[in-house]
Symmetry: C2
Subunit: 239 residues, 2 copies
């Protein structure tokens, strides 16, 4: 059944606007009385279509339930800005795997250093990719993608997580079940192509992050977040 | 240090031929006496260059050691043929993550059904991608990529593995440490875009495979093998 995301939900009535409205009427050729799933903030609503126009599809709520597809840990991926369009792949896969928030970060070794304007354009694109991945993978909560953070801002954000992992190419502790005991929020910091400076690792560790290793093989900067998120979801009972 | 793969190793002498020879002399501009790493069958050789031509670089062995980068489990990925060039991504990432063998398989729901000739062309390309990933990720053993298997051939091959996992989109057991206790060879079967037929799952289970679930979210067919391999490497102590 088609799945949409919407924030305009009140008193059992749900209005879907924007491109999704047109999509429902034109591409999917849905009709009055057809049922769809609308998601908002981790809740799934089964709804029936009452009216359709290119601007707005209004629906009546039939059922409402907490989604079973959302993980019970809140994982923020802090991803050092990679080259070319690798962030597209990372955002798509991280969304499928259940990440809650993605913060691109500028670190010393980032080759790609977009200015605010060009990053804002990229951000829109990333949000579209993540939205599509939410629909396709059956998620019920959108992934927040933030503007670019500096390394210092990233360390500050990581302090707010129950556990924060700094994936360091020179090695660190392996992830295991015990890493996440009683933990509800996880920060995961992954480097760009060149990895991290030793000084960055030292500062992350001093600020409370766990230096983490992802094995002896050198993973590409787009493989590392996918691998780490998969392991985190498995070890926390979410895969 | 540059890393090459070679099978022509005897009595402490190693000859590198083909495109790698040209690459060493021309692109890398290496000189007589320079040292490189040559890998073969899980062993790393530190060698010194004695002669360089476009056809052959001959080297003398200085040191020889079992690589520490290879996992201690032999994982075969049985991957149902996906559409377009998704197998490229799967091969690259599976290689980085430490897979030993990749067998593309034709299942009921494969949309892409290449004939032998067009698959042979694809196979060459996949082998090149895997070789590059071996070099980049620091592996010491090449990944074997086999011709296309039928579903029946795949089940036969899986019987030879200590544990074989059939990742089924309708759910199954989660992977945990106990899944792999005392296990040296693992078979991992992943579906194509449309997943598997119920009948295929039944037959796999009857032939000894464990129906395995990768969580509540629906992973794309190229995400599933990357996620499963990451979890397998973590749970077997190889990540």
């Amino acid at each position: 059944m088609p799945r949409f995301f919407c924030d305009d939900i009140s008193d059992g009535m749900i209005n879907i606007t924007g491109p999704d409205a047109r999509h429902i009427g034109r591409s999917l050729r849905m009709r009055l009385g057809d049922e769809i799933t609308v998601c908002s903030g981790g809740v799934e609503y089964l709804v029936k279509i009452l009216t359709i126009s290119d601007e707005c599809v209004s629906c009546e709520q039939l059922e409402k339930k907490e989604s079973e597809n959302e993980p019970d840990v809140y994982v923020t991926l802090f991803q050092a800005m990679p080259k070319s369009d690798k962030l597209d792949l990372i955002v798509q896969k991280a969304t499928e795997l259940g990440v809650s928030r993605i913060c691109p970060v500028l670190t010393s070794r980032c080759v790609s250093r977009p200015d605010k304007k060009s990053f804002d354009k990229k951000l829109e694109r990333l949000q579209r990719i993540s939205l599509e991945a939410c629909k396709q993978s059956g998620r019920a909560r959108l992934v927040e993608i933030t503007p670019l953070l500096s390394f210092n801002e990233c360390l500050e954000e990581m302090k707010g997580c129950d556990v924060s992992l700094f994936c360091y190419e020179k090695g660190g502790r392996s992830l295991c079940r015990e890493t996440f005991e009683g933990c509800k929020s996880i920060g995961l910091f992954i480097g760009s192509e060149g990895g991290f400076e030793q000084e960055e690792a030292d500062r992350a560790e001093a600020s409370g992050a766990v230096l983490t290793g992802l094995g002896k093989r050198i993973l590409r900067c787009e493989t590392a977040p996918i691998a780490a998120l998969s392991v985190i979801m498995n070890l926390t009972g979410n895969m």
